[in-house]
């Protein structure tokens, strides 16, 4: 468990978390491995976990009828995957697939929500971090939506 705590503490998202809070969230975490191509979660299914990527890469995909899966974004070592565990109805909004052999730390959503209810300081600390993640991803999505490469640049 000590090793897991160190791994989580090294991630940019949880680096500045208070030691006691770190110990608490790691109490809801386990190591997990995904083989290349393995689906970690599917859109609409219960989001009972989130992940911290230790190594490898996860693709967030949306299935487009007639076009197959489209990759919206890839996440890599140090990134957090998933916030649906934190908000009702606790269901994944996208598919998640391991692009390569991927090492993860998986956090139990229900376990963490219960601990956040019991300790609002922990809840606030986690909410701050997930809000930051959401803002980063939202900004990236806004930039993607501008389709900047669609307008030619003379070179």
């Amino acid at each position: 468990m000590r090793q897991l705590e160190e791994l989580v503490a090294e991630s940019p998202t949880f680096a500045a978390l208070a030691p006691a809070h770190l110990t608490t969230i790691v109490g809801c975490a386990v190591n997990q491995h995904a083989a290349a191509g393995e689906m970690l979660f599917r859109e609409g299914t219960p989001a009972d976990r989130f992940f911290l990527i230790r190594e490898g890469r996860i693709a967030l995909e949306i299935d487009a009828p007639g076009r197959g899966p489209l990759t919206i974004e890839t996440l890599q070592a140090g990134d957090v995957v998933g916030w649906s565990w934190l908000f009702e109805p606790y269901r994944w909004h996208l598919d998640g697939r391991a692009v390569s052999s991927t090492g993860l730390v998986a956090f139990d959503g229900a376990c963490l929500r219960a601990k956040c209810e019991a300790d609002h300081e922990l809840g606030y600390a986690l909410m701050q971090r997930f809000a930051e993640c959401l803002i980063e991803r939202l900004e990236a999505t806004q930039l993607q939506l501008t389709d900047v490469y669609g307008h030619p640049r003379v070179a």
Binding site: R57, A59, E61, G68, P69, L70, T71, I72, E73, T74, Q76, G78, R97, V99, S100, E136, E139, A140, L143, Q144, T146, D147, V148, Y149, G150, H151, P152, R153, V154, A155
Partner: protein
């Protein structure tokens, strides 16, 4: 300022609408240029367009052109043996020498990799004079990425190459996402690093913000700008940007010079 005649000696299709052309001067006199400079290129009868030089100092004059209008389509349609006209080179180049001794992060978006290619080749020709060098390159989709062979060889030659696309299918095993997100992970030391940027202006704005978070200040960031360049020699005024003319004072600017003008909409 009289156009010189160049013969198209080789042509390669890079993407559906983008071609790389190699030109040799009919006079035999090679065009001396610095990385980042451009020429006014023309196929007869369709007008001139500013096109950045995309090749190295040795060998034929190389341009990478995206067919987006009459003039660029005519250039891309030219066949080996055809004659094109060239004026130049023009403009302020990349500060490749100034960055010697520092880490360098090169950020390209779309066809913006073409104007940066001579700078990359210059750094590689003198690799030991630079610290860590990272190339962050973004495109719309995998089939629109330029210089695939170069990207692989540059990685072998000591450049940390990261490529990302805005969207892709499951067959793409690389990054999907926007270029500024790559900045956070680039292996560079902020305080002593410099950055070279070329791509859509929106992408560059967001990239500069991400570079600032890595402690790379606007004074150490250089960007190649695009405006409506027509004469190439600072006379016609079409390419005015603030108090400057991009053809003469650019296309490469220090970001701290540019920043005040970019905050004025429609400028």
């Amino acid at each position: 300022m009289v156009p010189a005649l160049f013969t198209l000696v080789a042509k390669r299709q890079d993407t559906l609408d983008t071609w790389t052309l190699e030109l040799e001067p009919r006079s035999g006199a090679r065009l001396a240029f610095a990385p980042g400079q451009f020429t006014m290129l023309s196929a007869f009868g369709t007008g001139e367009v500013p096109i950045s030089i995309s090749g190295g100092a040795d060998g034929p004059l190389t341009h990478t052109v995206r067919a987006v209008g009459l003039a660029t389509q005519a250039i891309c349609d030219a066949q080996e043996g055809d004659v094109l006209t060239v004026r130049g080179p023009f403009g302020r180049p990349w500060p490749v020498e100034e960055l010697a001794g520092a880490d360098v992060v090169i950020v390209a978006g779309g066809i913006g990799l073409a104007p940066l290619r001579p700078a990359i080749l210059a750094v590689l020709a003198d690799r030991e004079r630079y610290g860590r060098v990272a190339l962050l390159y973004g495109g719309r989709s995998p089939d629109q990425l330029l210089f695939g062979d170069d990207l692989r060889s540059w990685a072998d030659l000591g450049i940390d190459v990261s490529v990302t696309v805005d969207s892709a299918g499951p067959e793409w095993l690389g990054h999907v996402g926007v270029v500024p997100r790559l900045v956070h992970r680039a292996a560079i030391a902020g305080a002593r690093a410099g950055a070279l940027l070329c791509g859509p202006e929106i992408m560059m704005r967001f990239t500069v913000a991400a570079l600032a978070e890595r402690d790379i200040l606007a004074e150490r960031v250089y960007a190649s700008m695009e405006r409506n360049m027509q004469c190439g020699i600072g006379h016609c005024g079409h390419c005015q940007l603030g108090p400057t003319l991009v053809c003469r004072d650019g296309p490469v600017y220090r970001w701290s010079e540019l920043e005040p003008w970019l905050q004025i909409r429609e400028l």
